[in-house]
């Protein structure tokens, strides 16, 4: 943890409630990421995941604490941190090219039209939308719209990408393809990515690190799970990895039971030193032990768990 690229330091978010009381969504949240890392946050609705992302993006300000990106405390939004919105948030009066070019011309204000268009085109090609440049968002399918959202985010060559459940509104097949695309692009460009998701398999496939958050209000970051799967994992044989089910079960157990009881059961939890869970490494792991038998499952014998 020597080279922290992103460091969230003790942030809190409070809203004024009824009768002068304040509602604390979360407080004293510490979290860090290294450059080029892909992190996913998993937690139930209302735990403040989106608020954390908005604070990282600069769209929202923390009530306490600070966020440091690349050695600088952030204040407000920045072109270094691109956001991919859940609802794609394309401007419907602009074409595909127009939407991407809007971002490009916002970053490089003195570029001429031709240069902006050429740059935008590169990123449209990258997400596989060549030929649809002059369509308006209403003429695109949900998956294509989100591809435009990705192209727009990438086109400003950000230092990191923030994704708020970017694929949750898509059908399973499109979601899979887009996950592949995002993974490929992030690996190729060495992007640091922070993604919120509800989909455990999505997190396992994409993330290097998975942050588990307990239920809100008063949510805490319970554990950081390191993904034991190799970096060059493939979608098709992901579930054959010996540690896949141990990891998946650990996360699901957390979501089903421990996310509710974690705070009460772990009185000594130190938010500054959140336990790092390394599945499959004895001594360090918390949950792998109980799932030992499952690791020996043979490929293709796991009925109905492909999700």
């Amino acid at each position: 943890m020597s080279d922290k690229f992103i460091s969230i330091e003790g942030i809190a978010k409070r809203y004024p409630g009824a009768g002068g009381a304040t509602t604390t969504i979360f407080e004293n949240l510490w979290l860090s990421m290294t450059r080029g890392e892909f992190a996913c946050v998993i937690g139930h609705s209302g735990c403040g995941k989106t608020t954390v992302l908005n604070i990282l993006a600069g769209l929202d300000a923390p009530s306490e604490g600070a966020v440091i990106v690349d050695g600088q405390a952030i204040s407000g939004t920045s072109l270094d941190r691109a956001v991919i919105f859940q609802s794609h948030a394309l401007l419907p009066w602009r074409t595909v090219l127009g939407n991407v070019a809007y971002a490009v011309s916002s970053k490089w204000r003195n570029w001429d039209r031709a240069k902006v268009r050429a740059h935008a085109q590169t990123f449209i090609d990258l997400v596989g939308l060549s030929g649809s440049e002059h369509k308006r968002p209403s003429e695109l399918s949900g998956g294509m719209k989100q591809r435009v959202g990705i192209a727009r985010a990438l086109s400003i060559t950000p230092k990191m990408m923030l994704m708020d459940e970017p694929f949750s509104a898509l059908d399973a097949l499109t979601r899979g393809t887009l996950q592949d695309e995002v993974r490929r692009i992030c690996l190729e460009t060495g992007q640091t990515a922070f993604m919120i998701t509800h989909d455990v398999d999505e997190a396992i496939y994409l993330a290097d690190k998975i942050f588990l958050m307990t239920n809100g209000p008063g949510a805490v970051l319970a554990e950081v799970v390191e993904n034991p799967l190799p970096r060059d994992r493939g979608r098709t044989d992901l579930h054959r990895h010996p540690l896949y089910y141990a990891l998946r079960n650990h996360i699901i157990d957390f979501l089903v039971t421990r996310s509710k009881t974690f705070v009460a059961e772990t009185p000594g939890h130190d938010p500054r030193n959140v336990p790092v869970v390394q599945i499959g490494k004895p001594g360090l792991s918390i949950a792998a032990g109980s799932d030992e038998p499952r690791q020996t499952w043979m490929p293709g014998t796991s009925p109905g768990l492909s999700a």
Partner: protein, 279 residues
């Protein structure tokens, strides 16, 4: 399927129009000689007395007169006898001037109010009080301060068309989707550029709907305003022809007011469609 529906609807419209004209014709036609009187006296009395003809003109009279007007729309025989084209042009010019002035004030002001919650709250009581005032109630005040009847009519158009545009602009600007604003924010787009590249296009359909409501109200009000200020315009024409007891001309004017109002509405409707994009 849709074309056949349109065809059938068109047929029904024609049948209804024919029925209306037929009933109108029968109701106002001559019933034949009523009383015998000397030809000279009969000439003085006119067809109403001699042939039992209704004082209300029939569709054929109106048609003939309309044709006469359409043949010479722009003649000018002095203050009380101008072609219908000239009268309509006066009215359209007044509506256009007042309306454009209202656009110039309402849209920038609406933008400011929509973007600033403080201004929005501060100006709300004034707008709420001024909005329901009948535009014609301003007329005496306008005549007294402006001292020119023609300009006063333009002022009345201005004051009546400003409110729907202002309120729709405020609403449109204030309810731009948060995500679109956030897109601009994450791209570090400045306030001015954001206003023109995100808020204006996003609010445009709502603003144009306000403009469409306004042009309708302006066209309603101009007739009444011109009846008061007199001199020129289609409203004055209606009142003048009433004083002349030329019901035929009054009916023609009513018809034309309707047609022009429809055209103005259609123009704005087309503009609204041009700036509306489905998501």
């Amino acid at each position: 399927m849709t074309s056949s529906l349109r065809l059938r609807a068109g047929l029904v419209s024609i049948v209804l129009l024919a029925a209306f004209l037929g009933i109108w014709h029968i109701a106002t036609r001559s019933t034949g000689a009523t009383t015998t009187m000397s030809p000279e006296y009969a000439k003085l009395m006119g067809l109403t007395a001699t042939q039992g003809k209704s004082a209300m003109p029939g569709p054929l009279d109106v048609g003939a007169k309309l044709w006469e007007h359409l043949k010479r729309p722009f003649y000018d025989n002095g203050p009380n006898d101008k072609g219908l084209g000239i009268q309509l042009a006066y009215s359209i010019a007044r509506v256009g001037t007042g309306y454009l002035l209202a656009v110039l004030v309402a849209i920038p002001l609406g933008f400011l109010i929509g973007m600033s919650p403080l201004l929005s709250k501060a100006l709300d009581p004034f707008i709420q009080v001024l909005k329901p005032i009948s535009p014609l109630a301003w007329m005496p005040l306008a005549l007294y301060t402006i001292k020119d009847s023609s300009v006063s009519a333009i002022f009345v158009i201005f004051i009546c068309s400003i409110w729907p545009m202002l309120l729709n602009t405020v609403f449109g600007v204030a309810s731009v989707r948060k995500e679109w604003i956030n897109v601009a924010r994450t791209l570090e787009v400045g306030t001015i550029r954001r206003a023109f590249t995100v808020i204006l296009p996003a609010a445009a359909p709502t603003i144009l709907t306000g403009m469409r409501i306004s042009i309708g109200i302006a066209w309603l009000v101009i007739v009444a305003a011109e009846m008061l200020v007199g001199g020129t315009g289609i409203g004055y024409f209606v009142w003048n022809e009433w004083n002349n007891l030329s019901i035929t001309n009054v009916i023609i004017a009513i018809l034309l007011i309707g047609v022009i109002g429809m055209l103005l509405d259609q123009i704005l409707a087309r503009f609204t469609r041009m700036v509306t994009f489905p998501e």
